[in-house]
Structure formats: structure tokens, C-alpha cells
């Protein structure tokens, strides 16, 4: 980043100090730091994970965005890239991982399967999109998306981060913490605890 890029406009900085001093807003500084050090969770689901690895390798080089530090632990990561088909057997684990990530956290649904079920949507073990369970910030289309598309998605995440304000950020708000998402249960089929009433009602019909 250029030094004047961080400056807020309309402040006169003496010419001899221009390379050393910047006058800026806290939001801008805060978001600048966050957006250039998004640590993704090292978590590959399916085919898209291979393209994610390629994005991390030399040709596409995710490190240009400060995102090369893939953390195997959800406790240390900011971004969850759902890279592949979300199955019913896997979704309880994904929700648990999401709950374990500290705020601020972002989710990127990579590829057709994670966004809406993709070519496997009709399958009996496939969830039609991870957004049925956890909130998604950016969707990247493709089957699988090329590394370029993934990088574009990651830049969208950065744009989103840059638009946030420390004053309104949900993770600094008073009151109850972000409610944990109830972990789905494996029964005769996948049971979403939020839908228990519907399932009971549905059976009465």
C-alpha cells in the first residue's frame, strides 16, 4: 500500500513528513490490517479444494493477498472456504467448525456444490448449498472455479471487510454473543434442530 493511500483526504500534511505520517480514520486502518491478513481455514472438501491448493501455489500465489497462512485449526482462522460438495454426513462437522471460529469470521462458498448443490443436488446425501446452515458472504460460481475465480472471490471478501466499521461491527456489540448455530443431528435423515417443529408438524399432515 502506498503511504498516501491510507490517508484520509482533506488533511494537510507538511511535505517533509508526507512519507512518514498519515492521518487516517481508525476504521480505515483497522480494515486495512484485517483485509490484508485474512487467514483461511485449511479445509478441503472435494474437487474445488484442489483448485484452492493451486491458488496457493506459485502460479496464482494467494500470498499476494496476505492469505497464504492456511490454518488447520478453526480457532485461528478468519475465513472458511467451503471448497466442495457439502454432504449430510459432513454438515454437522462444518457447522461445528464454523461455531469454533472466532469473530470476525467470513464464509466463502466455492463452486456450484457449496453454493447450491451443483451437479449432485439431487443426491440423497447432498445438502443443497451450505447456506442452508451457515451464513455465506461470497459465492464463487464454477465447477470447479478456476484459481482466478477464487482469487476474485477473495478480493470480494476484502472489499466487504473494507466496507465495515468498527462502530457497528457485530462482534463488538454488547449483548449476547453471536448465537451459535445448532449442530445438525444424524438420524434417519439429517435433522436440523431449527426445523424440529416443522418435522413434527410435517408428519402429522
Amino acid at each position: 500500500m502506498e503511504s498516501n493511500e491510507l490517508n484520509s483526504p482533506d488533511y494537510d500534511i507538511p511535505p517533509e513528513l508526507q512519507a512518514q505520517v498519515a492521518i487516517t480514520s481508525l476504521d480505515k486502518l483497522y480494515n486495512w490490517g484485517r483485509s490484508a491478513s485474512v487467514w483461511p481455514l485449511m479445509f478441503g472438501l472435494a474437487c474445488c479444494a484442489i483448485e484452492m491448493i493451486c491458488a496457493a501455489a506459485s502460479r496464482f500465489d494467494i500470498a499476494r493477498f496476505g492469505m497464504e497462512i492456511m490454518r488447520p485449526s478453526p480457532r485461528q482462522s478468519d475465513l472458511m472456504i467451503i471448497s466442495g460438495t457439502v454432504t449430510k454426513k459432513m454438515v454437522p462437522i462444518i457447522v461445528r467448525l464454523y461455531n469454533q471460529m472466532p469473530e470476525p469470521k467470513y464464509v466463502l462458498a466455492m463452486g456450484a456444490c457449496a453454493s447450491g448443490g451443483g451437479p449432485f443436488k439431487e443426491g440423497y446425501n447432498v445438502v443443497s448449498g451450505v447456506d442452508k446452515f451457515i451464513p455465506v458472504d461470497v459465492y464463487v460460481p464454477g465447477c470447479p472455479p478456476t484459481p482466478q475465480a477464487l482469487l476474485n472471490g477473495l478480493m470480494k471478501i476484502q472489499e466487504k471487510i473494507k466496507g465495515e466499521s468498527i462502530k457497528t461491527a457485530r462482534w463488538y456489540k454488547k449483548g449476547p454473543d453471536m448465537a451459535e448455530i445448532p449442530v445438525p443431528i444424524l438420524g434417519p435423515d439429517l435433522i436440523d434442530p431449527r426445523k424440529i417443529a416443522l418435522i413434527q408438524h410435517g408428519e402429522k399432515n
Binding site: A46, K89, E122, V127, K132, P188, D189, I191
Partner: protein, 579 residues
């Protein structure tokens, strides 16, 4: 192309009078026998006739006939055509068939899969649990009368998508607006069942060490989210200190229902789905499926198409092995640096795939009777440059960096040993089998396509340890380069499609088993057609899935830190393990 030879007809019916009935349905081959004679017959096949390699076990649900059929494909590791036999049982619960695990331990995971998806009880199976779905799932989904929550019609193309613009979302037809269904009267609040219980009980069954100290054994779960399980794979290990006393692979976290979806798709619609099986080597998957359906249709691709197919399949093998080497080195602790070298070359191969097929990974390039399109302009020169100039040099470079490394040698040599006998017993395939000293390669054992025209060595190493599996991959890359170089020199001109392009192919009734030597081992497609536009049965004999049968036996007795190294050396891809 592999067709069950008539030789076995003479052999077997004379040896087993009254036991074997030839399968006389049109388009079918092999034998039908009574389940009471199965064990005796299989023992004789293995011990007397030398069919020591159980390639595939699968089931077919013949709902209109009221029968369930279990199909076995056996081969000799010395090469040659195989033998196919079938057990037919009435389709009334409980469906019971004797388990072959005591004779061919390689049947273990495959029989568990048939139990999970078809509900066939294999009596005498040591550990018959669900494998792809979870314990407690309602029903056996591959049965023809089991319908998924988003069921619309028996066969595609679906009427709800026609005419143009008329799209009915599957959600709108489902009671819950979601891809779920429950048995009648189900109350989720009364759900107290633990799907993991059966797994932990199975893990506690092992030989106790009588001499050791009386200590508690520890149960460790690795995965499904773990950096070195190559995807969403889970390993449950029972430990005595650091020593592994029992290990169970747990899979199904990426079970995408390929086979159920494949039976609704028309034949050609399955081609892009095969890409997503082993997503690192889509061209090989295309190859196997194309071979199986071409066998059913009784057509042959054109000369030029055959050559391009072989070139693409061998490039896929190189790309896959590069990834496998990089991933194994990741698991051994050399995090990502060797991978960068491997991926650099893989990207160049992916450029070729993108050029010919339009997609880097999901090529969808093969068609029945040829390939989708000819090489684009300039591609031939690009392949030539890569395979005659750059790649041989680069492979030697990566080999030089890695194979003499002290850490790799000490973590690889003598660790995770699979003996030749066990490798055959557990039906392992590909580099895993060849590193154990069995020179079995489908390209040589039963040449398909035009592999009989090329000079190449079947790579073999004798120690069966992690290091040898790594070295086998290096050697195989060199052999693949050799094959591509020969194919480049011989590539003829001409058309690339034997048939005129059509929307739907006509496939006569029958069965076919097309197998190719994929990068991970013998990849087989068992396709049954009943003359309709969609296959009646579409089964994938996935090499990485069956190679995992040997995973537990290799690891037992090793230290827990070697689990990731052994898993890396087996080289699995979850898309294929779970399908």
C-alpha cells in the same frame, strides 16, 4: 479390449459340474451359482485355478425379476482375462449371501458398501457396518424402490425442465423444502441414537497384548477435518501408547451418490460425472467409462482418437503422481515446498487439458467412439516441447531433490510395509501393489485400447514400504513420458469420432466391465444396460476405495505418526473413495 474369453467356459464347467450355470441372458457373460456353493467355488478358484485377485464385488437390484444379484470379478495377477460369476438371491428381507472375506479379504469394504447401499447381509463378514452412509440412516438407497427426497422421475431428461424456461425447483415438491425425508411417525426429539457407537465397538475388537503393561488404550479420531487426510477422510485409531493396535478408516463424508444419480442419467450424461470421481485424473475416469459403454455398444474409436486418448490418460497419470508425491512430502513434514515443484509441472499439463477440453480439471473429453474434439492448433507442438524437452529434465530434478533426502529415507524405508502376499490378498491396485513386488498393470496384463503397441516397463519395487511407493511413482512418470513420446511420434491423421455426434446413444442390453489402469490402480466401470436410454446399473470399482482395505493392516503395529505417511503413500482421493 477386455472381453471374458470363451476359454473359461471349457475350464470351469468341467471342473464344477452341476454347480455352475452359464449366464444366458443376452449380452451377459460369466456364471451363475447357488450361494450355498460360493465359498467352496471361490476357494477352488483361488487355490487350484490361480484366480488370486478379487477385483470387484458389487450388487445389482433386478427389481422387476424380484432378484438381487451379487457380481464378482476375479483375475489372475499373472495376467489374462478374468472370470465373472454371480449369486442370485430372492429379493425378500433378509437378503443373505455368504461373505468372501475369509477367502478374499479384499472384499471387506466392498461387501460393506453392498450392505450399506443394497441391504445385502454378508453372513460371516467380520465387521458388517454401514460404510458410506451413517448407522441409523433409513433404508438402503441404491435399491430401485428406494427414492431420494428430491425424486422426480425414473429417468432423465426430466419433464419438469421442458419446454425451455419451465423449471420446477426440486425444493418446491418436497414437504420440508429441503433435501430430506423421514419415515412416517418420526419424532426428532426422541432421537437418542448414536451413529458412532458401532464404530467404537468395532475398534475395541483387537488382540490384547498379554506381555505389556496393563494400561488403558487410547482412542484417537483423526479427521474428517485434518490437514493430512487429503480431504474429508477420517481415521479412528486405537493406541497403546504410541503404537497402533487397531485402526478403522471412516468414510462417506463426500458420498455424492454418483451411482444413484448415474442410474437416472442417460449414458452420455454420466461422462462429466466420471470427471468428478477421482478429480485429479479425470481423463482416466473418462477412459474407463468410455471403454465399458463401447464394449456394450460394440464399437471401436478411430485410430487418431485412440492415440489422443492414450496421450491424455498418460498425462493424467503424470499430473496425478506429481500431486501424490507433493502430498506425500507434505505429510512427511516437508510442507508445501516439494508441492510447489510438483504443481509447477502439473500446471503445464493442466494447460494442455484446458486447451483440448476447455477445462483444467473436469475435462469431459471422451465420447463413445472417440473424443469430443481434435487437438486445437498449436497443441501438438506444445505437447511435443513439454514431453521431449522440459518434463524429463524436471522429473529428474524433483527426484534428485527428494529421493536421497535423509528424512525421507528414514521415514520411508522399512516403514508401513505391505508384503506381496497381503497386497494381493487385500485386492490393492496400482502403485501400492507394484511397490510390493507384484508386476501387475492392466495395461500389460490385459491390454486395452492400443497399449499393446507401446514399449514401456511395468514398474515394480520389492520392499513394499513408503519409500518404494514414492519411487514407483517417479518411475511410472518416466514410463508415461516414454509412452507419450511414442504416441506423439506415431499419431496418425484422421477423424476423432467413429459415430456421428448424437444426443442420445443406443446401448443394447447386457453388462460390461471396462477396466483401465488409472493412476491409482485398476479403475473399473460395471455397467448394466436394459436397452433403455439410462443404465440399469452403473458401478465404479474405485481403486483408492479398495486400496484402503489394506490401510488398517499396514498401520497396525506402527507408530501413530506413521498413519499420515502411510495414508499419503497410498494416495487416496476422496471423490473416488466415497463416490
Amino acid at each position: 479390449m477386455a472381453t471374458p474369453a470363451p476359454v473359461q467356459t471349457l475350464d470351469l464347467s468341467a471342473r464344477f459340474p452341476g454347480v455352475l450355470n452359464p449366464d444366458t441372458r443376452p449380452g451377459y457373460s460369466g456364471w451363475i451359482l447357488d450361494s450355498a456353493n460360493l465359498l467352496e467355488f471361490a476357494t477352488a478358484l483361488r487355490d487350484e485355478l490361480g484366480y488370486d485377485y478379487l477385483s470387484s464385488v458389487t450388487a445389482v437390484d433386478y427389481l422387476p425379476d424380484g432378484k438381487m444379484e451379487v457380481v464378482y470379478h476375479l483375475y489372475k495377477t499373472t495376467g489374462g482375462t478374468g472370470v465373472v460369476f454371480k449369486i442370485q438371491v430372492p429379493r425378500a428381507d433378509p437378503i443373505e449371501v455368504p461373505s468372501l472375506v475369509s477367502i478374499y479379504p479384499g472384499a471387506e469394504l466392498q461387501e460393506r458398501e453392498a450392505w450399506d447401499l443394497f441391504g445385502i447381509k454378508f453372513t460371516g463378514h467380520p465387521d458388517l457396518r454401514r460404510i458410506l452412509m451413517w448407522e441409523g440412516f433409513a433404508g438402503h438407497p441404491m435399491r430401485k424402490d428406494w427414492r431420494e427426497p428430491y425424486f422426480e422421475e425414473e429417468a432423465k431428461p426430466l419433464k419438469s425442465r421442458w419446454p425451455d424456461g419451465k423449471i420446477i425447483m426440486a425444493e418446491s415438491k418436497n414437504l420440508y423444502g429441503d433435501n430430506i425425508a423421514y419415515p412416517g411417525g418420526f419424532n426428532p426429539e426422541s432421537q437418542t441414537f448414536d451413529p458412532e457407537k458401532a464404530l467404537y465397538e468395532a475398534l475395541r475388537k483387537y488382540q490384547k497384548d498379554e506381555i505389556g503393561l496393563d494400561t488403558d488404550h487410547i482412542l484417537v479420531n483423526m479427521g474428517p477435518q485434518h490437514p493430512s487426510t487429503h480431504g474429508v477422510f477420517r481415521v479412528a485409531v486405537m493406541l497403546d501408547g504410541e503404537k497402533i493396535v487397531n485402526l478403522k478408516p471412516v468414510m462417506g463424508y463426500l458420498h455424492r451418490n454418483h451411482e444413484k444419480i448415474g442410474e437416472r442419467n442417460t449414458f452420455i450424461m454420466n461422462m462429466p460425472y466420471t470427471d468428478r470421481l477421482d478429480y485429479l485424473s479425470s481423463m482416466s475416469n473418462n477412459f474407463g467409462y468410455a471403454l465399458a459403454v463401447e464394449k456394450l455398444m460394440n464399437i471401436k474409436p478411430t485410430e487418431r482418437a485412440e492415440y489422443i486418448r492414450v496421450m491424455m490418460a498418460e498425462m493424467t497419470r503424470i499430473a496425478n503422481h506429481l500431486m501424490a508425491i507433493g502430498a506425500l512430502l507434505n505429510d512427511l513434514g516437508a510442507y508445501f515446498t516439494p508441492m510447489l515443484y510438483a504443481l509447477e509441472e502439473r500446471e503445464l499439463l493442466l494447460d494442455i487439458f484446458e486447451g483440448v477440453a476447455g477445462s483444467r480439471m473436469m475435462c469431459n473429453y471422451f465420447r463413445f467412439g472417440g473424443i469430443a474434439r481434435d487437438l486445437p492448433e498449436g497443441m501438438f507442438q506444445k505437447i511435443k516441447d513439454l514431453f521431449f524437452e522440459r518434463l524429463p529434465r524436471k522429473i529428474d530434478e524433483i527426484d534428485r531433490f527428494l529421493s536421497e533426502n535423509e528424512i525421507i529415507r528414514s521415514r520411508g524405508i522399512g516403514q508401513g510395509v505391505l508384503t506381496a502376499e497381503d497386497a494381493v490378498k487385500y485386492s490393492t491396485a496400482g502403485p501400492l501393489l507394484r511397490a510390493s513386488g507384484i508386476p501387475y498393470d492392466v495395461r500389460r496384463a490385459e491390454p486395452y485400447s492400443i497399449y499393446d503397441r507401446f514399449e514401456f516397463d511395468v514398474v515394480v519395487r520389492t520392499n513394499g514400504d513408503i519409500y518404494d511407493r514414492l519411487m514407483v511413482r517417479f518411475d511410472e512418470i518416466r514410463q508415461s513420458i516414454r509412452i507419450v513420446q511414442q504416441a506423439v511420434k506415431q499419431l496418425p491423421d484422421g477423424p476423432v469420432m467413429a459415430l456421428k455426434p448424437m444426443y442420445q446413444v443406443r446401448v443394447p442390453p447386457g453388462e460390461a466391465y471396462g477396466r483401465v489402469e488409472g493412476p491409482k490402480g485398476e479403475l473399473g466401470f460395471y455397467v448394466v444396460s436394459n436397452g433403455k436410454p439410462t443404465p440399469w446399473r452403473y458401478h465404479v470399482r474405485a481403486p483408492s476405495f479398495i486400496n484402503l482395505t489394506a490401510f488398517g493392516p499396514i498401520c497396525i503395529g506402527q507408530k501413530v505418526a506413521d498413519v499420515v505417511a502411510v495414508l499419503g503413500s497410498i494416495d487416496i482421493v476422496l471423490g473416488e473413495v466415497d463416490r
